[in-house]
């Protein structure tokens, strides 16, 4: 009876947290990841797999072995590029869900350039032009939704999402139709790019280091741009308060276009890397990009929309992609398992964000 009375007097409520130490933030983040791993372990149990063994396989497959590390870095390259660009768009609350198609258009533009113009060029001229073409392709595809939004008020979420389907079908059309390679024995690929334009890789790996350097540089540059430049300042004002931006005379049209040139262009660069660094030709959209345009969305959010932090979160998600591949082979789990991991991790991270911003207050009511 006494106990029950005490229990009844207990009350709790959530309050907004105003102070936040670094130690606290890190410990919340770590707790979230541990919870996520436990949940993933539960998924393994339900599939009848020893969770400790499975997690060990994931770790060995991603960061715990030389091969895994090399593969993780390879897959981190497009994530760095795309997520870095998405940070800029999302800071302005421009919800670009179309990085996947911007990547594909980058791949299309650079493939066209490689097959038609690039043959006679030396690498020192051809490779930079190849990247430029990819950037252009992604940027052009990216400014379509920007124009639609600012001029006609069409939601960028819908337009960027729909453009993904258009771009994917367009690529499929090209590879089974007009661009189908003469040397490919009827397979739905384009011909390979000329040797001079194929990106060098680090020996014994698939790491096309030029794109890797480009990705890291881009994230650093975008960080400086966001927090130290006039453009970045205007992006943040637009994102935080469109009314204040209007009051301050910030040009929405110009800024939105520039945001999408950067965000789409960065995804286009990733497309160049995938074509010229990994596949050497244009193939099915699902092969050119393993959903990088979507994984990069989570990557950017995990990096708190800070391009420098996306270098860490990009590597983390690349590891999950590679580790997922590893257990597909070693444990014969379905490919969709990786998507479950991504989902669970994103979920716990979103929840942890709430804990970062609020505190639970418990107290006994006086009678």
């Amino acid at each position: 009876m006494k106990l029950k009375r005490t229990w009844e007097r207990l009350e709790f409520q959530w309050e907004e947290r105003t102070d936040r130490s670094l130690l606290f933030s890190v410990s919340v983040l770590l707790t979230a990841i541990v919870c996520g791993v436990l949940l993933i372990g539960a998924v393994f149990l339900s599939l009848g797999v020893d969770p400790v063994f499975a997690l060990k396989q994931i770790f060995l497959g991603s960061f715990g072995s030389l091969y895994g590390l090399k593969e993780s870095l390879t897959k981190a390259i497009p994530l760095f590029l795309i997520a870095g660009g998405l940070c800029v768009a999302y800071k302005a609350k421009f919800w670009n869900i179309g990085a996947e198609s911007q990547l594909l258009m980058g791949a299309v533009f650079s493939t066209w350039f490689g097959l038609n113009v690039g043959q006679s060029l030396p690498p020192s001229i051809g490779v930079p032009l190849l990247f430029l073409m990819g950037f252009l392709g992604g940027a052009l595809w990216g400014i379509i939704p920007a124009i639609l939004k600012v001029r006609f008020g069409i939601s960028e979420v819908i337009s960027t999402l729909m453009l993904n389907y258009i771009a994917a079908e367009f690529v499929t059309f090209l590879i089974v139709g007009p661009w189908k390679g003469a040397t490919k024995h009827g397979f739905p690929y384009t011909d390979d790019l000329p040797k001079a334009l194929i990106l060098d890789t680090l020996p014994g790996s698939r790491i096309h280091y030029i794109t890797l350097i480009l990705g890291i540089l881009l994230c650093i540059i975008l960080f400086i741009l966001l927090y130290r430049s006039k453009f970045g300042y205007e992006v943040r004002v637009i994102g935080e308060s469109p009314e204040a931006a209007r009051y301050a005379g910030i040009d929405f049209f110009k800024t939105s276009l520039l945001i999408m040139v950067i965000s789409g262009g960065a995804a286009g660069l990733a497309g160049v890397g995938e074509v010229a660094g990994i596949h050497h030709h244009l193939g099915y959209p699902g092969n050119i990009s393993a959903g990088y345009g979507f994984t990069a969305i989570i990557t950017a959010w995990l990096g708190k929309l800070n391009p420098l932090l996306t270098l860490i979160s990009g590597l983390f998600f690349a590891g999950i992609l590679v580790g997922g591949d590893a257990i597909q082979i070693s444990l014969r789990l379905p490919a969709a398992t990786v998507n479950i991991f991504n989902g669970i991790l994103l979920f716990v991270l979103i929840v942890s964000d709430y804990f970062l911003k609020h505190r639970l207050v418990l107290r006994f009511r006086q009678l």
């Binding site: 006039k230 009051y247 301050a248 005379g249």
Partner: protein, 497 residues
């Protein structure tokens, strides 16, 4: 209703300390205090938005615990917030239904409409039911809030700064409604900075300072000056030092200006006026008579349909806000938190808004953070803004300090014309006094000032000339010495003189 020993602190900073407050049925209680004195916190506790750290609340003699505003509403407590809590994209009727627990699930519109008509007849509170909230003026929105609370069966109504958006006539009307409600046994708490109206309508006044009750009195037995002293803790100068000044050259000329509102209707109709150096032109009028659109057209936020705006003889009609700012028009906007600042950016980032693309604050690409921070420090110092540092987000400042920062930022750009919209709306006595002095100082130093306000006392006190707007037209421009409050009140209601 009674509150006993209420205490509440945020991050160890006490906002309310052992406050006792009671109100009888049929009583109108005034709650006075500067910004940050703890009035709003106390009322939020009473309305169930915050839980007190200690202390109890009694309604009709029974102890109650409010876990949310819903609990408070069930106990008959209604609140009209200073910043309206309405869904902008919904119609008035939909907003009212939203708060009505008794509304039937299907076709709630009809049931609510019937009930509303009753209130409209009883109290004369008319609201355009079918309009969307964003189309309404602040005054109309407030009426919607009051009707909403009444519909929820509020026996105790809390009004936060209720008259700041009304004409004198409308305020009188509101007061007669409130008196009627009190006579019928409603309890009413009014939070206000306007001493006169508190004395006018309230039976009893409670003054808060720094989270504590510093005084309580029968309204009949105290003077304005007593209350002000209690609030601020020192004597307050009530009128600013205003000396006649000779007019200078013409700064702003507005000719045949016509502007459309968001609704697409003509909001400003063929308006003509000019402002000189060393002159304050006050624009009086009830909210929603075109003042907002006029100001937005002059400052480049809204496109004019026809007509011309000239600054020092140069045509700036329909230029962008950026160009117009560069031509020397500074703007202290209405709705200072939404338009004037970016709450999540830091103070120094806010202090450079609009000027961030000029030297010395930036070069072609990069911002110069040393200059920006120095600029912020000097604004904070020169305009006596109280803030922990310039490295905290803007949203941590109080209303008065936010406004001081905006005024400081706009003034330090060295404008030739300062456009100030409702510059002291919702500010406490201390901050109001400060902002008004600043406006007069700008005028004395040779700037032209366009002052838009619904506070007639303010307009009369500060302006050299007073223009009255009604339904988008300027019904008349009076010289300071010819103006009196009754006459202007009539013009605001559309009576041409």
């Amino acid at each position: 209703m009674e509150m006993r020993n209420i205490s509440k602190s945020f991050d160890g900073f006490p906002a309310n300390k052992n406050i006792n407050l009671n109100i009888q049925a049929g009583e109108i209680l005034g709650l006075l205090g500067e910004n940050g004195a703890g009035k709003t916190t106390l009322m939020k506790i009473l309305y169930g938005l915050y839980r007190p750290d200690s202390g109890k609340i009694f309604v009709n003699g029974n102890e109650v615990v409010f876990r949310s505003p819903r609990d408070a509403i069930r106990m008959g407590i209604g609140m009209v917030h200073q910043h309206f809590m309405l869904v902008q994209n919904h119609t008035v009727l939909e907003n009212i239904i939203l708060g009505d627990e008794e509304a039937p699930f299907f076709f709630p519109h009809r049931a609510a409409e019937k009930k509303l008509l009753k209130f409209q007849k009883m109290y004369g509170l008319r609201v355009p039911l079918r309009s969307k909230v964003w189309q309404l003026s602040a005054g109309e929105q407030q009426r919607v809030e009051i009707v909403k609370a009444l519909l929820q069966g509020a026996g105790l109504l809390i009004l936060d700064e209720p008259t700041s958006v009304l004409t004198p006539q409308e305020s009188t009307e509101l007061f007669s409604i409130l008196r009627k409600m009190a006579n019928e046994g409603h309890g009413i708490i009014i939070i206000s900075h306007k001493l006169e109206e508190i004395l006018d309508i309230c039976h009893r006044v409670v003054v808060l300072r720094k989270g504590e009750v510093v005084g309580s009195a029968e309204a009949k037995k105290v003077t304005k000056r007593d209350l002000a002293r209690m609030m601020v803790g020192r004597d307050v100068v009530f009128s600013v030092d205003w000396k006649p000044a000779p007019k200078g050259e013409v700064v702003l000329e507005v000719e045949g200006l016509t502007v459309r509102s968001d609704r697409g209707t003509v909001a400003v109709r063929d308006v003509n006026f000019s402002i000189h150096r060393n002159e304050i032109l006050g624009i009086a009028g009830v909210a929603g008579n075109g003042q907002r659109e006029l100001v937005e057209a002059i400052t480049g936020i809204r496109k004019a349909e026809s007509g011309q705006v000239r600054i020092l003889g140069k045509d700036i009609t329909n230029q962008s806000a950026r160009v117009i700012h560069a031509e020397g028009i500074a703007h202290v906007p209405e709705e200072r938190i939404r338009f004037g600042t970016v709450p999540n950016l830091l103070i120094y980032e806010n202090a450079v808004l609009k000027r961030h693309h000029f030297a010395p604050f930036s070069d072609v690409v990069f911002l110069n953070y040393d200059e920006i921070k120095e600029n912020a420090e000097s604004i904070v110092r020169n305009f006596s803004i109280s803030s922990p540092s310039i490295h905290v987000p803007m949203k941590q400042l109080s209303g008065g300090n936010i406004q001081k920062l905006i005024v400081g930022r706009e003034v330090s750009a060295g404008p030739v014309l300062l456009v100030a919209s409702h510059p002291t709306y919702g500010l406490d006595v201390g901050a109001t006094e400060y902002i008004r002095k600043q406006l007069v100082k700008r005028r004395d130093e040779g700037e032209a000032v366009l002052l838009v306000s619904e506070d007639l006392e303010e307009i009369l006190e500060l302006s050299d000339r007073i223009a009255v707007m009604f339904e988008g037209k300027i019904v008349g421009i009076l010289d300071r010495q010819d103006a009196n409050i009754e006459e202007i009140g009539l013009m605001m209601a559309g009576v041409a003189l």
